[in-house]
């Protein structure tokens, strides 16, 4: 494996609200290598956006606060970094594409104004050079009439074009890491295909590492190398995309993958995980997934599971894989799955 660009260690971010402390993410650890595309998947509210905002130090504070953990970016811990330092890093070494493109483009300024300013913050270039570079980037992301679009306002562009402008902006400084939070969720599939193609191209050509947040496992299968599954604020499973999508270990990942309707093949009834995703609370005891888990046993309600190795270099936050439980439990789980899934 090539060098590590980003290594998050035991990161916890909490919100201190009127209703009490909300542990949005707990002890999240993620590693991203140079040129790698890592996906974070999980259902609404599981902490995907909070994880990415924490890396950029953009969690609204108050009420949010990183309460513990490290964010090592090329050997430097960003968790205690000053706002001045972060300004240097943001949009330059680490770029971010936000979940809603409209909120991240200023409606009062032209596309050109925003792109040129962003470029000039980090690079010593003249206005004219910055403008030329911006037009070049807009062309690269497939914006037609780039020379005139650059003088238009965000509202004059379609959603897909705005998202492409965001990508052009985020790539214009050749970042080492691009964090993309649901970059295609608001877009149509045919436009999504264009954007994913573009991200793939930039990743291949510039060796940019990408941390891609999505709830769409199809997108993961399409462009990610590795994938991290989150549930209720915790990482519950990690592996290559093939490992996780083809052979999920954690009962939640298994359920999630089985509940997606398939585009190919036939199925009579969809599998569905009973119950709903719980809201994060402080001092929870037991596995977060236990109330919905078909394999849950006594211990699951009494102790918090750690990440246990599953024997193939991967790990899973589930007692089934704890050696001290013996093989009986794992076998039960795998056998049961074979009868349902097979």
């Amino acid at each position: 494996m090539s060098e590590i660009v980003l290594e998050i260690k035991d990161l916890s971010t909490h919100f201190f609200t009127d209703r009490g402390e909300v542990p949005a993410i707990e002890q999240v650890s993620i590693r991203v290598h140079k040129g790698e595309v890592v996906g974070i998947v999980g259902e609404s509210g599981c902490g995907k956006s909070v994880t990415s905002l924490s890396i950029m130090q953009l969690v609204p504070s108050p009420p949010g606060k990183i309460v513990s953990g490290e964010i090592n970016f090329k050997g430097e811990d960003l968790a205690p970094a000053s706002e001045k330092r972060m300004k240097k890093i943001r949009g330059n070494e680490i770029s971010m594409i936000f979940q809603e493109p409209m909120t991240s483009l200023n409606p009062l300024f032209t596309i050109g104004n925003q792109m040129i300013e962003a470029l000039r913050i980090h690079q010593k270039v003249s206005k004219k050079e910055a403008r030329e570079k911006s037009i070049e980037m807009l062309k690269l992301v497939g914006i037609p009439r780039a020379e005139s679009i650059i003088d238009e306002y965000p509202h004059q562009l379609s959603g897909g074009m705005r998202q492409r402008v965001m990508i052009a902006m985020s790539m214009s400084c050749n970042p080492e890491l691009l964090i993309a939070d649901e970059p295609t969720t608001a877009l149509d599939v045919t436009i999504q295909a264009q954007i994913l193609e573009l991200m793939r191209k930039l990743n291949k050509e510039k060796d940019t590492a990408i941390l891609l947040i999505t709830h769409d496992l199809g997108v993961v299968a399409d462009i990610c190398d590795r994938v991290i599954v989150m549930y209720s604020g915790q990482v519950v499973e990690e592996g290559t995309k093939r490992e996780v999508l083809k052979d999920p270990k954690h009962p939640y990942s298994k359920g999630l993958i089985r509940s997606i309707p398939k585009l190919h093949g036939r199925e009579e009834k969809l599998y569905s995980i009973p119950g709903t995703v719980p809201k994060p609370k402080m001092d929870r005891i037991g596995c977060r997934f236990a109330p919905r888990c078909e394999f849950a046993f006594e211990r699951c309600f009494k102790e918090n599971p750690g990440l246990y190795p599953t024997g193939d270099g991967r790990s899973s936050r589930c007692f089934l894989y704890d050696k001290s439980e013996g093989d009986k439990k794992i076998n039960a789980a795998t056998n049961k799955e074979a009868t349902i899934g097979g």
Binding site: G142, D188, T190, I191, A193, G218, L263
Partner: protein, 343 residues
């Protein structure tokens, strides 16, 4: 499915809905958004007809215009052999017992100040001369049908999760035993695991109450899972309509082909030949001439810019609006004649 012998419950023909664009100082009409522009299809009793298409192609507008929640600009809608576009308000109200709609957004479509009991009970109150006791029993029964509990009746929408709210919307739609339900993206706002629960529920209810659905969505895998036949819309029109398996295995329209190829498959072993379309979806305020897909179509021909292709069958139950097949039209019917002759 044997559509030929089944009778259509709903027949939509040449449906149009144009919204005026106001502009200038005097708020004059300066143009029109052709949200639905000549839409035609039938829905047969007991079937689930899926309708897919990208954002803004007119799916929701079509759904509302069929129910006359907004007035169609042109076209015909027949429900149980009765033309409904000319019915008066009183008669429409009667019809709304049989034709219901479930909306996309489980958060916005329920009145936050009303209890669940009031929300579900409202259609009963409007349409029925039921007693208070009968209504209470019916509400309890409906809640159980959709997998909620009688004690939920006194709660407010914000006390429910998205999936539970969508169940409340379904219970409300079922209140008067409708025949047809137009489902406008009923699961799009839901997480995958919750989406599966709601889809299963909708299928069970269809079987139990012999319902007919028009199921609108933009997720092609969801539509494939639930539908018997599927129609594909582009800029206010149907461009292809056929049996589900036929559409997914053998798409004919270049747009359908591109759309299907663009859906990322969660199976990493499926290698896809992706058709990446150029450009954006055109605006329905200024649709391209001829075939409205010609600006993005990878196989567009000269004729496509000038002539709007008709929506015609190219095989039994397989309708396509594309010039590629209109020439072949002749050949196909000839072939059929030859086959007939050979028999």
């Amino acid at each position: 499915m044997q559509q030929q012998i089944k009778k259509p419950l709903l027949e939509v023909k040449g449906l149009k809905k144009y919204f005026p664009i106001k502009g200038g100082v005097f708020g004059r009409t300066v143009g029109e958004v052709k949200a639905v522009d000549g839409l035609s299809f039938n829905v047969y009793e007991g079937e689930i007809l899926g309708i897919v298409g990208e954002s803004g192609c007119g799916k929701s507008t079509a759904g509302k215009a069929i129910l006359r929640l907004i007035e169609p600009s042109e076209g015909s809608v027949r429900f149980e052999d009765e033309e409904i576009t000319s019915l008066g308000a009183e008669e429409m109200r009667r019809l709304w017992r049989d034709m219901q709609i479930i909306f996309q957004d489980p958060y916005a479509s329920l009145n936050p100040r009303h209890t669940v009991e009031k929300i579900i009970g409202e259609p009963l109150l409007i349409h029925g001369n039921t007693s208070k006791k009968e209504r209470k029993d019916r509400i309890k029964q409906l809640l159980e049908v959709v997998g909620l509990n009688a004690y939920h009746a006194s709660r407010y929408p914000h006390q429910f999760s998205g999936g539970q709210r969508q169940r409340i919307g379904i219970a409300r739609a079922l209140a008067n035993n409708p025949k047809l339900i137009i489902c406008d993206e009923p699961v799009s706002a839901l997480d995958v695991s919750v989406q599966a629960q709601v889809l299963n529920l909708m299928e069970e209810l269809r079987d139990e109450f012999n319902l007919t659905y028009v199921f609108i969505a933009h997720d092609l895998s969801v539509v494939k899972h639930i539908s018997d036949r599927v129609g594909v819309m582009y800029l206010g029109r149907m461009v292809e309509l056929t049996d589900k398996d036929e559409l997914y295995d053998n798409p004919k329209h270049p747009y359908t082909q591109a759309l299907l190829s663009a859906v990322p498959d969660p199976d990493p072993d499926i290698e896809k030949e992706r058709i990446i379309l150029k450009g954006d979806v055109p605006s329905p305020a200024d649709p391209p001439s001829g075939c409205t897909f010609h600006t993005r179509c990878p196989v567009a021909m000269d004729i496509c810019k000038q002539v709007k292709p008709d929506f015609l069958p190219i095989e039994d139950n397989h309708f396509v609006a594309c010039h590629l097949y209109h020439e072949e039209q002749q050949n196909i019917s000839n072939n059929n004649l030859v086959k007939e002759g050979a028999r």
